[in-house]
Structures are given as C-alpha cells and as structure tokens.
Amino acid sequence: MSISEYNGSAIVAMAGKNCVAIGSDLRLGVQLQTNATDHKKIYKIHDRLFLGLSGLATDAETLSQRFTFKHNLYKLREERDIKPSSFGQLVSTTLYEKRFGPYFVQPVIAGLEADGTPYLCGMDSIGAMETAKDFMVAGTAPESLMGICESLWKPGLEPEDLFEIASQALLAGQDRDCLSGWGAVMYIITPDKVIARELKGRMD
C-alpha cells in the first residue's frame, strides 16, 4: 500500500454561480483498520478560502498548521485576507521546497475571489498546480470521483443545487473505495456565508 493511501481520503470541490463547494469523507484509518469516523480533511483559511488536504494525515495536519501560520503572518503584514489565487501559489511553492523529501498530500483549494468568482485548483504532492473551472478531486478514489463529477456537473449551479450535485458525487465516489467514506462533510461557500453540512452515507 503506498504512503498516500495509508490513512485514506476523498475530496471533491466544485464551482457554481458565485459559489464553490468543497467536501471530504470522514474516515481516519491505519491501512485497512478504521480508527475514527469524524476526521475532516477540509481546513478553513479564511471565510472565502478553504483547503482540502488528502493523503497522509500527519502531513495534512502539519501543513494545515503551517498554512494557518503563514496566513496569520500574511494578514498582519498585508492587512487583508489572502486571495485564493495567491494562496494557491503559496501552497505550490511550500510543497516544491520539499521536492526531494515531499509532504505526502494532494491539496485541493476552493475559494471565492473578491468579486465572487469561484476559484478552484488542485496539485500533486510536489506542487504541480492546475486550476479548473468545473471541479477538482483528490484522494484514494480519484477515478471514481472524477467520473461521477464529469457526468453530474454543469455550469451555473446555484448554491443549493451545487450542494446536491457535489454531495452526490462525493458519496458515490467514496462508496466504491474501501479506504474512504464513513460519512462526509460538505462546505458551500457563497459571498455572504459558509454553510457546513454533514452527510449521511454508507458506513462501511
């Protein structure tokens, strides 16, 4: 079993009309043993920017702490929250710094730019970044997630519809993977609020 599949994870992020959705499964495992069913993989950077970290849980925790630290310093210096596109670059360079001894995580970044335009990007464990206009997936079931997202997604979804589509995609994708699942959490980010919902899924 590869090191990125040691704990298990599934992350989906989708863009809608002036809104983004990002969600993850809740399983924390040690190879094939399930240890906890309430381990979220989505971390808040600020009200309009969320970071999903799939892969090795210890590196995800370490990195989320480092990014919170970096953002706190950024806020003190720049006197504003970081833009999602800038944060994407920050994550990419942070990961590439460890090119020959990397963090075993695959980040997915979902946020709203100042004018409400959705921003989505994903990268591999050494920071190779790609932005997307539709959706971004990561984790131990990327093919399953990619497939269902491709069929369900369409442009211009309102927040409630986006929530439905993203949730169905996440649940369907993680059900086919034994290392992820055991419930899910979905965040919908709109210009004026963030709604977090726990999803009921197959608990196996």
């Binding site: 704990n7 924390l28 040690v30 043993q33 240890n35 906890a36 381990h39 849980a57 210890t58 001894g101």
Partner: protein, 193 residues
C-alpha cells in the same frame, strides 16, 4: 506485541496497557507499567520501540513540568497532546520515534479528553482508542458497548471484556494488564488483570 486501550466517559478517562517488556523472543519483565503520568491529571499510554518509548515520554514530561514551573499554571491535555504531536512530526523526517501512544487527561475547564497518536504523528481525539494487534479485537467491541453516559463500573467492565477477548483470540497475547483511571481526583490504579 504491546496492547493499549482507552475509554472516555463523561467525567473520567480509563486507560489500559499490558505489562510485558519484550526483547526479541524473551520476556524481560512482566510488571512494566506503560501508563506513565505526565502530571497529576494526565497519562501517557506508550508502546513501541523500547528506548524511544521511555526517552520520548520522559522528554515530553520534562517539558510539561518546566512549563508549569515557569508559568505557574499547568498545561491542558489538549496542549500537551498537540505539543507531543508536534515533537513527533518534527522528528519524523529526521530521526523518527517508533512509538504509538494514547494521551488521556482530565481538565477542570473541559473535563476528560483522550487522544490517539501514532508514530507518524497522526493525532485524533476519540472516545475509544486502541493500539497494537489487540486493538483489532477490542475496537469493534468498544464501539458496540460505549455510551455517552458511561459509568466507571461500566467502563471497567468493557475494559475487562476487551482484555478477555485479546487473551482468548490473539496468538501473541500478553498475559498481564494494568488499568488506570483519571478523574477530577487524579490518577489511580483500578485493576491489574
């Protein structure tokens, strides 16, 4: 193989470990207490590589005590757990500590807490946790029996059932175990099986 288990109740944390210290095929000691106090209301349950186990926990305990001396106030269990995780995470890519541990504690302001932490510095707060081969048998049993309003007697019963299961089904089951409890009065030994 080391066995560790922890159960959190509404106002206590119960921790259990086996008491064998093993070197290759030889049992060196049958009364090794792997439930090490950090201060009056916190415990480490430690397993893994012999030297790392004791060295790491002594290092953490010393730092926790130093903080208390310098600042005149004790660290919370959450703070100790996160400090421990950070030390493990920093050491991971230099010279990793091969030790899995459970951290249990009781704080005045937030009650009991129980953390599971593995040697990779993966940490998670849980109501029931276990480590080692024994955990394969014990976790599902605890999942079934755990309730939010568990009493100390119920938890002790659960723990004893878990130990019985490990003894009967695990081929390399350790013969003896110790169970301790942490509540608002501190740490005390509940049972030795």
């Amino acid at each position: 193989m080391d066995f560790l288990a922890g159960i959190r109740g509404p106002d206590f944390v119960m921790l259990c470990s086996d008491t064998s210290a093993v070197q290759s095929i030889v049992t060196m000691k049958q009364d090794e207490d792997k439930l090490v106090p950090i201060d009056s209301h916190k415990l480490f349950a430690i397993s893994g590589e012999a030297g790392d186990r004791v060295n790491f926990t002594e290092f953490i305990t010393a730092n926790v005590r130093l903080y208390a001396f310098r600042n005149g106030v004790d660290l919370s269990t959450k703070a100790v757990a996160n400090f421990t995780r950070n030390e493990l995470a920093t050491a991971l890519r230099k010279s990793p500590y091969q030790t899995n541990l459970l951290i249990g504690g009781y704080d005045e302001h937030c009650g009991p807490s129980l953390y599971w932490c593995d040697y990779l510095a993966t940490m998670h707060e849980q109501n029931i946790c276990g480590s080692g081969y024994g955990s394969y048998f014990v976790l599902s049993l605890f999942d079934k029996l755990w309730r939010k309003d568990l009493t100390e007697a119920d938890a002790l019963n659960m723990m004893r059932k878990g130990i019985e299961e490990v003894k009967s089904r695990l081929v390399v089951a350790p013969p003896k175990y110790i169970i301790k409890i942490i509540d608002k009065n501190g740490i005390r030994v509940v049972d030795e099986v």
